[in-house]
């Protein structure tokens, strides 16, 4: 089912996502704009990867390349061992603005991608995933009747409904208040544990990146390069007041500070 170019023929593909030497340019007014430079990233099964970086550094573009919504010309991008050539059911996506279709009830939104299943199977899948995100009482509501957090949960249910091996999340909690956000973070961890889905999440919240990520990908400002991939301690990173947590936080802050300082210098000269 997965839309792929062709098997690259390599063996030992233990990676769900394998990106090597990926470069990406966009043409704006026929001028090439470099967005991503020499990205190398391997995502193992069951991992939770978080990505942080300046606004406009190409995080969304990277995620869309992973799921096949944006094409790439230069480098290798493999999903489940095959070169990515388009979207496929094994790869789910949750957008920043939940993008539930306003004209469909929540259950139909969650089942939107389940066209290949029989009616009973589909109903079963939808029910299961609504329960998973705690929305089973809202199956017949419309998106406009849901709060922001509930909408995001519905979007996560839609992303998981066809049982993808990997779920990509593009700042899914960006629009939520601090309390709801923390609650959603716990929820997404629980879901990941229950389903064993590999997850890659973009966030602009450094605490969130540390709390959720087994590894944190820190990106530089445009053109986006990976500055470092920080491996977190599985226990300490779940305690927001631990010393290690503060250490990670400082490390990531320092990376951003570097960039801002450079920008300040430029601003000063001008």
């Amino acid at each position: 089912m997965e839309n792929t170019r062709q098997n690259t023929g390599r063996t030992g593909n233990e990676y769900i996502i394998n990106i090597e030497h990926l470069n990406k340019q966009f043409l704006v007014d026929k001028q090439p704009i470099e967005v991503l430079r020499d990205i190398n990233l391997q995502v193992k099964k069951g991992e939770f990867i978080t990505i942080v970086g300046h606004s406009g550094c190409g995080k969304s573009t990277l995620l869309k390349i992973m799921c096949g919504l944006v094409s790439y010309e230069d480098g290798t991008v493999e999903r489940n061992g095959h070169a990515v050539a388009g979207p496929g059911p094994k790869c789910g996506m949750v957008f920043q603005d939940h993008r539930l279709l306003p004209w469909l009830k929540i259950k139909d939104n969650v089942g939107f991608g389940l066209r290949h299943l029989s009616k009973e199977e589909k109903e079963q899948q939808v029910k299961e995933h609504l329960e998973l995100v705690g929305l089973k009482d809202f199956a017949n509501s419309y998106p406009s009747q849901l709060s922001g957090g509930m909408s995001q949960r519905a979007a996560i249910a839609r992303g998981l409904a066809n049982k993808p091996t990997i779920l990509l999340l593009d700042e899914p909690f960006g629009a939520l208040d601090a309390l709801t956000r923390i609650q959603m973070q716990k929820e997404i961890l629980r879901i990941q544990e229950e389903q064993g889905t590999t997850m890659v999440m973009i966030t602009h919240d450094i605490d969130e990146a540390i709390y959720l990520g087994n590894r944190i990908v820190v990106m530089s400002a445009r053109p986006g390069e990976i500055k470092e991939i920080i491996k977190t301690d599985p226990v300490e990173s779940k305690k927001r007041d631990s010393i290690l947590f503060a250490k990670y936080k400082k490390k990531i802050y320092d990376y951003f500070f570097e960039d801002t300082e450079e920008e300040h210098d430029v601003a000063y000269v001008i």
Partner: protein
Amino acid sequence: MKTGKYILVALIVPVIILVLWYIATTFGSLPASILPGQQMVGNAFIEMTSNGQLQGDLMISLVRVVKGFLASAITGVFLGSVMGMSSKMQNLLLPTITVIRQIPMVAWIPLIILWSGIGESSKVIIIMIAAVFPILVNTLSGIESTPDGYAEVARLYKLGKWKTFTKVYLPHALPQILVGLKLGLGVSWMAVVASELIAASTGIGYRMNEARSLMKSDKVIVCMIVIGLIGIIMDKLISLLFNQFTPWVNLQKNSK
């Protein structure tokens, strides 16, 4: 309550008009052929309905409206969708359509009569010309205003072009298509009366014109009132129907 108050306020102006009318015809010196009394109009109404003439005329006009409206609804939604989904088709058709739209509906009537006489088909064609544009323009704008993000969702789930249209663009455009249909129906009703006034041997517009030539101003006024009422009834009916088709729209309004 609130709606009761609303109705009361809405009734103030009509009551003033009725009173002024009453004063003018009772104490003024206007001849009845210019402005008949309310009693006369009432009698004319009873006369026209008891011999079935009014109902017959209305039926004929309404059938024309239904035919013309359905034809323009199908054409307008089809062309609007095609132009909304394909920029090539839009570039091909929109300039011509924009120019044609500038010609007022009544200005078509002479040519249409030359081409197809004063029979049924000419009425239906005139209604079509009048009603197709609001429907087309609203369909087009509803399709075009679909956020790219929704189309991206369709792409993510690998919907084909037709499915993307039926599952994403069309439902997004539906509320606006309904607005277009509502406008179109109103225009259809106006168009049928106008075309019957100018060239017809049946229908409510024809009856009005005939009454005018016989100096029966009471009958003219009966026809005018009935035309206005039917217009409002059609408008309300179609609004009711539409809420059934787009249950999510009013929810959004209420939640804001």
